[in-house]
Subunit: 349 residues, 3 copies
């Protein structure tokens, strides 16, 4: 198990006070870390959120449990009873596992342009490169090998993980986390056809990211062609996502891994986009649209709700038969129509 340092221990009382909920049992016990019901031991806090795992409450060797009032009587272990056990647990996990402190200052092996402005409390790791006129805010952490281009601006406490790349002019707000290998601000894919081949169109917009945004490992967000590509506050993007030029992603929208969003799509706030979903360009999703993983959104969606479009999986033999029939589906409908017509006539004696 990880040997990362934690911030605790805290008493169960202290955790309930800071994270929500009411203690039942001995509130003075010391909690050092969180863990699953199955694996938790002495000094560890587990939680029950999904009722499917209620059977594990009896066997757990956790020192404390977070659960709902409905399940509070399943155990005699000291516990925090909460209306939102998962949220209380999430806060406790955050309390016990603060982001690792990085030493303030510029590592002697970082390469920082003389015209960059680095807050004294920021930490710039070895082999990081900071371009001219970049501004790095208070408490930012730039991990090893990250490249921050000219005129980039980072708000306070934003973390850029190892080998991520921010092209020139990218703007990122405060309290963001950009994971390793992510690339912000590469050229959007704009090409004009000519007799001699494709002519690349200069991409002079920027990537502009709000506050409290998470961007996953190896995710790519292209700069705008003329206007900016915009990621609003509180957006959470998983790994290996592609965001095309001039896309807007509305506040608090969340996307699972491998999603692709084509250029100029306008995605509203508080949407949920499942993994590997594909969103075509120049369309609009209103607030509160949920897209099932693996679906391809080809048209605007103007009504909140859940949308799907996934071919059902089957054993290969059944799939082959159904897929072959599917290619003739249109003629099947025509044949059905003919039969219906025929049936309509048949009663005539």
């Amino acid at each position: 198990m990880p040997a990362s340092p934690t911030a605790g221990p805290f008493t169960l009382d202290e955790i309930a006070k800071r994270c929500g909920g009411t203690v039942v049992g001995d509130g003075r016990i010391l909690i050092r870390q969180v863990n699953t019901l199955e694996n938790a031991g002495d000094g560890e806090l587990a939680f029950l959120s999904n009722p499917k795992y209620r059977g594990q409450v009896e066997q757990t060797r956790a020192s404390g449990i977070v659960l709902s009032a409905e399940h509070a009587s399943l155990t005699t272990v000291s516990r925090i009873v909460s209306e939102q056990p998962y949220l209380t647990y999430a806060r406790a996990a955050t309390l016990l596992n603060p982001t690792t402190e990085a030493p303030p200052g510029v590592h002697p092996r970082a390469e920082v342009d003389a015209r960059a402005r680095i807050a004294p409390t920021a930490s710039i790791g070895p082999n990081a490169v900071i371009g001219h006129d970049a501004e790095i805010g208070d408490g930012c952490v730039i991990h090893p090998g990250a490249v921050v281009g000219a005129r980039v601006s980072l708000g306070a406490r934003t973390i850029i993980h190892a080998n991520a790349v921010l092209y020139a002019d990218t703007q990122v707000g405060s309290d963001c986390v950009i994971h390793a290998g992510a690339v912000l601000g590469a050229d959007g894919f704009g090409m004009a056809e000519t007799p001699a081949g494709w002519l690349k169109i200069p991409q002079i917009g920027r990537v502009v990211v709000g506050e409290r945004v998470d961007i996953g490992a190896n995710t790519t967000i292209d700069r705008g062609a003329l206007d900016d590509t915009v990621i609003e506050d509180g957006v959470k993007l998983d790994n290996l996502i592609q965001i095309g030029h001039n896309v807007r992603v509305g506040a608090h929208t969340i996307m699972a891994a491998c999603v692709g969003v084509a250029g100029s799509a306008d995605i509203g706030p508080r949407c949920m986009i499942g993994g590997a979903a594909l969103i075509a360009g120049h369309l609009r999703l209103v607030e509160g649209v949920h897209i099932t993983a693996g679906s391809f959104v080809m048209r605007s969606i103007l009504k909140p709700g859940r949308y799907s479009g996934v071919f059902p999986i089957d054993d290969n033999a059944a799939w082959e038969k159904n897929a072959a029939t599917l290619r003739q589906l249109h003629t099947l409908r025509d044949r059905l129509r003919a039969l219906e017509k025929n049936a309509g006539r048949s009663p005539t004696p």
Copy 2:
């Protein structure tokens, strides 16, 4: 808005002379930058290509507009009338926004092998690594943290962005752009099954890239198993694309983001592959094949044209019903056939 330096200003006359089209109105006005009809202001050149936006021509505050003869009378603003407004605009944007100059020479914090040959006009950034016997052509720019392996060859004016990796023996022609995090020449995925597990087969081919090729951020192109993987002249690849070993991508073919091409596929010239399309291995696409985004190409396509295979999206309830029925599609066809047979017999009184 971006503060990147531009090359202008140019008079509208000068722009028309260099980029095509005829000036109507005052050709002496100075143009400093391009912008959208909606956002352009003083000193900026906008364009109308998609008739959908013709309404914006009246309101624009642009100093100049590029448009077609058909739309030339929509405005009294100084304008360039062109048979191909988008192409003229693209050229004007390129004229006004040249690639940023990089200082020639090797940064003291670059690590260049003594046996590498670097053209004196090339620029090697901090923390870039150049292996032995690599050849870097005139005017190349190697951005920070890029790793260029042994015996790699780069033609003139090719740009390798930050943290991209070119494995040993990769060949890249002139005037290419390889974006951040792209990986060329990693091992192809060749494995032989043995009782003890998978045995990796050495991948001794190379990646060979032609001239004027663009490769997007975090795109991966594997080296060949025995023969080379080949990307021909003028190919444009977007971000997060995977090209398997021994693939050939024909000249001027363009692929949107997240496409996957399996090993030994042979893709003809001037194809267009939509985002997240998937192309199976060991098959052939002739010149001029267009694949819709999200489609899976499982067989060779020997006739130019547009091909699609995408499950239509719907609200979730409708999708669930249709997907369930789809899994019985084959029996539906059989039932229809039985009815038709029956209908054939039924006329007998």
Copy 3:
């Protein structure tokens, strides 16, 4: 063709002795490299595995051929007759093309924490960064720009390619290959909803990788939320794959490029997952499940076998008609049912 150094030459006899099979013809000929039947020349060994290429055996100018007894009489060239020609060839290719030796020791431009433990036979390249308390085993090679976090452990002979990133606490066994740009141990995507937006849940599990595992370029494997994400011995992952937190990938399972595996999926040993397949979270695949490229696995699969779910590709006009009909498939079934009912009544005279 590549100029990489090889280990040979070897006599055909020596190759048969080490790699399996029986020599027919002159076993004293010298073999320097492997190549295709089509391109092989003097000093090169080709192979015939796929009978589709048997016609090339006659024309080949290879010095030697590996083939099965069934095809042994197609040629008079010196040959190795093997029950498994592809496997014998794979071993010969490995013999002739050993992994390039890297000079042991720490490059002066590597940044190694004083508390890291580096085996004297390991090779640490320029601009590599090794964190505190990391352990790097015998014969490991850390390529330029790779970042190895605190407390990471690497078994003997493991290779980390350029600019790959291993977050703190990642464990990797011996004889693994991690390709350029891969990211192991970034935060899993765990978020709790709050009225103020998504609250990120600390991810305190690790990534634990077994022995003889290959991980492709720009592939991402997230650390566990509480328990670890586990990749067992002999697993082979291609490029641009996403493995979510707390996934288990069983021994000797192989995945082609662009696959996405959502959190907590439990994939058995010896599975084969085709390219760009998508596996939903919290489900189970037993040993020996094969998933066709492009399929979306939405439910557990508890029986070995081959499973598919891919929309068939067609020319665009046919696709449009069939896709439109598909959206009404459910009503088609209802109409068919009504006709059947009607047909059942119709025999009444």
